[in-house]
C-alpha cells in the first residue's frame, strides 16, 4: 500500500469559509427578482413569442386570465379552458368576474383595469374571441396578450 502513497501532500480542500456569503448572495438575487406564486396555473402555458413588447405600468391594475388546454386532461378534457384565480370559468361568467375585480380597485382607477391574457400558443382564436366579446361587454377594454421576447435574427 505504501508504495502508492504520494510523497508530497497537496492540500485539495475547496475553501468553504465564504460559502455562506455566496449562498446568501444567490438567495438575495432570487428574493429580489422573483415573486410569490399567487395562483397555481392548471392550463398549459406555452406563451408565444413577439418583438413589440410593452411593459405593464402598474401591477395592481393587472389581472391575469389564462387560456389553454387543461393540464389534467383526463379530468377536464382536451378543449382549451379559461382559468382565473385558481378556478375554471365559462365565457358567461366573465362579466361577473370582471366586475368583481373592478370592485377591488379604488373608484378612480377602475377604468384602467388591464386584463393580461396568458394564452397558450396552440389555443384557437374562437375561444379567445368569445372572451374578448365578453370583456368588451364588461367594459374592460385594456388587454395585453402575454408574449415572450423574440430574439431577432440578424
Amino acid at each position: 500500500m505504501s508504495k502508492f502513497r504520494k510523497k508530497t501532500k497537496v492540500k485539495q480542500d475547496i475553501p468553504t469559509s465564504s460559502m455562506p456569503d455566496v449562498v446568501f448572495m444567490l438567495l438575495f438575487f432570487f428574493m429580489v427578482t422573483t415573486e410569490l406564486r399567487k395562483t397555481a396555473v392548471d392550463v398549459q402555458q406555452r406563451i408565444p413569442q413577439a418583438t413589440q413588447l410593452r411593459k405593464l405600468q402598474r401591477k395592481t391594475l393587472v389581472t391575469n386570465l389564462y387560456i389553454g388546454e387543461p393540464k389534467k386532461s383526463e379530468q377536464y378534457g382536451t378543449e382549451p379552458k379559461i382559468q382565473v384565480d385558481d378556478t375554471f370559468i365559462e365565457t358567461g361568467d366573465i362579466i361577473l368576474w370582471v366586475n368583481r375585480k373592478k370592485d377591488e380597485l379604488p373608484e378612480n382607477e377602475r377604468e384602467q383595469l388591464t386584463i393580461a391574457m396568458k394564452v397558450d400558443s396552440e389555443a384557437k382564436r374562437g375561444i379567445i374571441a368569445d372572451v374578448e366579446t365578453e370583456l368588451r361587454k364588461a367594459n374592460a377594454r385594456k388587454i395585453l396578450y402575454a408574449a415572450l421576447q423574440k430574439t431577432e435574427k440578424r
Binding site: T16, P20, L27, F30, M31, T34, P48, R54, L144, A146
Partner: protein, 185 residues
Amino acid sequence: MAKPLPEIPNASMADIAFLLLTFFLVTTTMPNDKGLSMQLPPPPEAQTEDIKIPERNMFKIQVNSSDALLVEGEPMADVSGLKDMIKKFILNNGADPKNSDSPEKAIVSLKTDRGTTHKRFVEILDIAQAAYYDIYADQAGVTNEEFRKVASDLNDPENKRIYDKGREGIPMNISIAEPTKAGGN
C-alpha cells in the same frame, strides 16, 4: 486574562442559507408582465351602424383555420415583407391609388378564423404593431425600442412629449374583426 469571545457557530450557516434559497426557488416564479398591448373596441351594442370605409383605406389581412395568410386578396407564405407593406400603406398619403388616403384614415384589418392558432395571431399582430411603432419612433426621432419604453411610462412629462410627438396624426388603427366560423369551434 482574556475572556473567551462569545461566538455564534457558523459552520451550519451555509446549510441554513441553502435551505432558505431552496424555499424561495420553489415558492416563487419569475414575473412575466410583458406582452402586446391592445385596446378593445366599445361593446357591440353601443356601436353605431356600419360606416362604409373605402377599399383603399383598408389593409386586409386574413388568416384561415390552417394558419394560411391572405394579404389584400393575395396569398402570402413569407411574412418578412409584410411589415414594409403595412408601413407603405399607412404612409401613402394618397400617392398610390391602391394604398391609403392619409395615415389617419388608414385601417389595418386583421381577420382570423375561429380555428386560427393564437401563435399565428400574435405573430401577425406583432408585425402590424411593429409597423406602427416603427413609424411612431421615426416621427419622434427615437428607436423603436426606446419608443415602446417611453410609451410604458407616460407619467413622466418628457416621455409624454415624445409619445405625443410620435403618435401625432397617426392613430393605431388595428382592427380585429370577428372571426369566421369555417374552422369550427
